[in-house]
Structures are given as structure tokens and as C-alpha cells.
């Protein structure tokens, strides 16, 4: 099969940085204003009030978060809003030590999927954990899958109807 492999001209970072090859650069500028929609619009309004809510489908019985106006499994409208707790259980987590463009972070971030109390089992949202340490070792020592956590909210006056109205989730047991 070697005959059917084209060798390609491989460039090194220096070839680009030092201008040894011809390149053109174009920034792409696009600004988007996304509509939150019916379900998430209400969800954001409730976040501003310091509450988490889900939607129930009476056909399958699931209480869903993030909420949706349709059940993608039963393929019918969901039926009602359900108030949820602001506590939950860590389904999984990571300790991220780099930014999206591969720069080191001074303090790692701890993204997690958190199953919210009051929603159906396994219904999680993505958020971050906080008050769990400042180094990889400290965080791995503190955080466990299955750990109980609670939302830490922004002060009421500073909330704006965004997922970041929850600053992070912190361990419930100290």
C-alpha cells in the first residue's frame, strides 16, 4: 500500500512564523444574538429568581433538565413545569488545567455534570465545582463522583437570567 500514499510537504511552526511560506490571514467576524427559546427562556427567568426548574412528560414520566417543550423520546409536548432543588449529585467531573487555546491555568477549573435533585435519575446539567481546592492534587483529594453538592448563587441583585447566575456548585458535606 506504500505506493498509494502521497508524502505531503510537512511544515514546521517556524516555517509559518518566519514567513518561509506564503500564507494569507483573514479574521472571520460574526456576531450572533441567540434567542433562548420558550423552555430555556423560562429556565433563565427562574435562574434570575434563584430557582431551578424542569419539565415533566406525563407519557414517560421523565422530569427533564435542561427543560424542553417537547419530549424527544415520546415525541409529544411536555406537560408541566416542576420546581427542582438547587442540590444534586456529581455524575462526573474533570480537573482542567488548560484554556481552550492550550494555555496553562493558574488555578484549575472543575467542570462537572451534576444530576439535579427532583429531576429524573441521571438528568444532569453541566456546570463547575468550587470550594474544592486550588491544585490538581487538592481537588482530586476532595472531589468524588457521587458527591453531594449545592448551587452557590450570585447575590439576587446581580443576577441577569443566565446559567452563570449560579457561580458554581460546592460540596454539601464539609
Amino acid at each position: 500500500m506504500e505506493r498509494w500514499v502521497y508524502p505531503v510537504t510537512s511544515l514546521r511552526p517556524e516555517d509559518v512564523e518566519q514567513g518561509r511560506v506564503c500564507i494569507t490571514r483573514t479574521p472571520l467576524r460574526g456576531e450572533y444574538a441567540w434567542d433562548a427559546g420558550v423552555a430555556i427562556g423560562r429556565f433563565l427567568t427562574e435562574l434570575k429568581a434563584g430557582r431551578l426548574v424542569g419539565r415533566r412528560c406525563r407519557a414517560c414520566g421523565r422530569v427533564m433538565i435542561p427543560p424542553r417543550m417537547f419530549c424527544e423520546q415520546c415525541f409529544r409536548p411536555t406537560d408541566e413545569w416542576v420546581p427542582l432543588a438547587d442540590t444534586g449529585t456529581v455524575i462526573t467531573f474533570s480537573v482542567c488545567t488548560i484554556s481552550w487555546d492550550m494555555r496553562r491555568l493558574d488555578v484549575p477549573e472543575v467542570p462537572a455534570v451534576i444530576a439535579i435533585d427532583g429531576a429524573s435519575p441521571g438528568m444532569g446539567i453541566m456546570h463547575k465545582l468550587g470550594e474544592v481546592g486550588r491544585t490538581l492534587e487538592e481537588i482530586l483529594d476532595r472531589v468524588r463522583i457521587g458527591m453531594r453538592v449545592q448551587a452557590v448563587w450570585k447575590p439576587a441583585g446581580e443576577r441577569e437570567g443566565a446559567i452563570t447566575d449560579i457561580l458554581y456548585f460546592r460540596p454539601l458535606e464539609r
Binding site: W4, S10, S94, C96, G124, I163
Partner: protein
């Protein structure tokens, strides 16, 4: 078997590199012309073209398949783009299959190209746009998060160690040392090298991850009456399957790829396979991260849940083992130009079944192989089974 019999009759590719001087069009041309040459066919014998490429955002070219099309032989031909994220490479071959199986076309050129290096400062930037704009992007996520979250869910559920998983990276990067197109082949890499590499998003470390790459792969597919004229070694498509899980990824069981199982069951049923562990001789599961190879082997029903690591530890998955897994070297070793990487796996099964894989050749004259890819927001499974 649905529809007419379809065979792969030729394959070609470019070397995979971090950054190629060649444009996407030029890479597509090199792979497509090599594939045609390999079966002594010319473009005028091709009825239709399937072109696979992942996000437009890598190239900064909207509708990039139309941009790539001149290099892929698509001038004046019915052409379609396959795009299911990382699953694209195998899905493009499936599209080639149904173009011919349906009776619509007799010959199809399938080309997959990816040039990730154009996106600055890092192709990761393009991936940030896969997250939900309202509920996830304000948290400042990066692509590694979802893999790290899934890997931790998988490891923790089955009590696997980082060492169990690192053995996949070692096997694949060593296998890739024998692949003439490989970007990251390394015959001397050890488990310690993987475990000591930089932590990116724990549990993911630098050597758990495939690189970003530029490259292209092409195959030629033909209906039976053409295939038998073109070659005395046609490689038949025996089964295909694909499936999509929910976009609500935080509502899924991240420890098991249900969508891969659904795709695999469709492909096995079509191929008449009752006992995949006995009837599949070579596997090329999608391995953008080392744990994903294990995850996918389980979804493909080729290992019990939580037990795929034993196939690696016991040497069963080695090239000379009972069920060679990723003899090519995979995405971890050969490289990961997204769509092209998936089609590289299909090409590897093609070369292996024809006994043309050179230093990578799996012994024992394997008769049936499976290639699988996975993508979108960790939710699509694409499977193809090939046999001779």
C-alpha cells in the same frame, strides 16, 4: 443484505502531518488520484462522488465541500457531502455503499479531507462552538471537558486505572510506527511516557489524545459486475449501521456508548453475524482518545462492559493477537484529520483483508473486519463491516 452487492476496489491517502503546505483541494486531489490509480481506473469511469469533511470552521470556508470538490473529482458529477462530525469518515463510506446498493450508480469515489491547521491560534477554537450557546458556552468550556468528563465516568464506573487505559495509546502509537502515512508513530513509547505526560484536563493527559492533523483519504467503490472486472480482490461491504443519541449529553449514561451498540447491531444483522467476537477478525474502532477505543469495543459488543482493557492487557488486541484492534495505529498514532481519519480506518481494513498492509499485516489471512467512527456531540456511531 439490502440492495446490490458493493465492493471497495481501490484506496489511496496522503501522509498525515501537523501542518501541510498543500491546500485542502490539493490534499483531496492526491488521495483521490492515488485511489483511482490503485485500481487502474480513471475519473470518467466514476458515476458519483461522496465527499466527507468535518466542521467548516476549521478551514474558515463556508460550504467547504463545494470548495474542495475540484480536487476530489467532483466536477460535473452528482456529489454529496457526508457530515456527522467525527463519524464522517465511516459515514462517507456508508453513503458510497447506498449510492451503489440502491442501483442509482455503479461506481463511486469517496474522498475525505481535513485541514485543521488553518485555524489559529488552535483548531480547538472551532470546537468551542459545539456547546449549547445559552447554557454551556457562558461557562467557558473547551472540547477536552466533555472527553475528560466521559473518561472519568467510564473509569470510575468500572474501577479502571489510568494505566489500564494508557496501554491503548502505547499499542496504537507503536502500531503506527509501521504506517507509512503516520504522524505520531513511536516504536519505543511506554506506559510511563503516557502517565508522565502533561495533564490537560484530568483524567486526560497529553499522550491520551490524538493530534490535530492535515490529510486526506479516498476509496473507490463499485457494484459487483464492475468490481469483478476491476480487481481479483474485491473487498465486499457486508454490513453498515449508524445511529444518533440525544443532543442532551448531560442526560446520558456517559459510561456506555449506546449509539455505537445500536449502529453495530444494525451492521451485524445485515452481515448475518451472530457472534461478533468470533466472526470479526480485525477491528478499527475510533480512537481519538485512548479510553474511546475501549468504550467503543464495548459498544461494538466485542468486549463485556468494563472489560475491554483486558483485551489490551492480555495482548489479544495486538497485531498478532486473537482479535487485532487498530493495527493501523489509529488516530492516536497515524493522526486525526477528522473525516480522513475515519476513512483511513476503512482503508486499513481494505488493505489488511487483501494482504497488502505491509509491515502492519495481521497474520492468519483475516477474512472480515470492522471499522467504526464516532462524533458530533459524543452522540453518533457509524459502523461498516467488510469481508472477502
Amino acid at each position: 443484505m439490502a440492495g446490490r452487492r458493493v465492493a471497495i476496489v481501490g484506496a489511496g491517502m496522503t501522509k498525515f502531518v501537523r501542518r501541510a503546505l498543500e491546500t485542502g483541494q490539493e490534499l483531496a486531489w492526491e488521495a483521490a488520484s492515488k485511489a483511482l490509480e490503485s485500481c487502474e481506473m480513471t475519473l470518467d469511469q466514476i458515476d458519483a462522488v461522496v465527499l466527507g469533511s468535518a466542521p467548516d470552521a476549521f478551514d474558515g470556508v463556508h460550504m467547504k465541500v463545494e470548495y474542495l470538490s475540484p480536487g476530489a473529482g467532483a466536477w460535473g458529477k452528482p456529489t454529496i457531502r457526508g457530515y456527522v462530525g467525527g463519524g464522517t469518515g465511516v459515514f462517507a463510506a456508508i453513503q458510497g455503499w447506498y449510492h451503489i446498493a440502491s442501483g442509482m450508480f455503479d461506481t463511486v469515489l469517496v474522498v475525505c479531507e481535513e485541514k485543521m491547521s488553518s485555524c489559529h491560534p488552535h483548531p480547538q477554537a472551532a470546537f468551542n462552538y459545539i456547546f449549547d450557546h445559552t447554557l454551556e458556552r457562558p461557562l467557558g468550556p473547551n472540547l477536552l471537558w466533555i472527553f475528560a468528563l466521559e473518561m472519568n465516568a467510564y473509569m470510575t464506573k468500572y474501577g479502571l486505572t489510568k494505566r489500564d487505559i494508557a496501554m491503548v495509546a502505547v499499542k496504537n502509537k507503536r502500531n503506527a510506527a509501521d504506517h507509512p502515512a503516520a504522524q505520531l508513530g513511536d516504536p519505543h513509547i511506554t506506559v510511563e511516557d503516557v502517565l508522565n505526560s502533561e495533564v490537560l484536563a484530568w483524567p486526560v493527559q497529553r499522550l491520551d489524545v490524538s493530534p490535530t492533523s492535515d490529510g486526506a483519504v479516498a476509496i473507490v467503490m463499485a457494484a459487483e459486475h464492475i468490481a469483478r472486472r476491476v480487481t481479483n480482490k474485491p473487498v465486499w461491504v457486508e454490513g453498515v449501521g449508524w445511529s444518533l443519541d440525544t443532543q442532551y449529553w448531560t442526560n446520558r449514561d456517559l459510561s456506555y456508548p449506546t449509539y455505537v451498540e445500536e449502529a453495530a447491531r444494525k451492521a451485524y444483522a445485515m452481515a448475518g453475524i451472530k457472534e461478533p467476537r468470533k466472526e470479526i477478525h480485525i477491528v478499527e474502532p475510533y480512537d481519538p482518545f485512548d479510553y474511546k477505543e475501549l468504550h467503543h469495543l464495548e459498544g461494538l459488543l466485542l468486549a463485556d462492559r468494563g472489560k475491554a482493557a483486558e483485551l489490551i492487557a492480555l495482548g489479544i488486541a495486538n497485531r498478532d493477537g486473537d482479535m487485532p484492534v487498530t493495527p493501523s495505529g489509529g488516530l492516536l498514532g497515524v493522526g486525526n484529520p477528522i473525516a480522513a481519519a475515519g476513512l483511513m480506518k476503512v482503508a486499513e481494513i481494505f488493505w489488511q483483508l487483501r494482504g497488502e498492509a505491509g509491515k502492519r499485516q495481521v497474520p492468519g489471512q483475516p477474512r472480515r473486519g470492522l471499522a467504526q467512527a464516532w462524533g458530533d456531540l459524543m452522540q453518533v456511531g457509524t459502523v461498516i463491516i467488510l469481508g472477502i
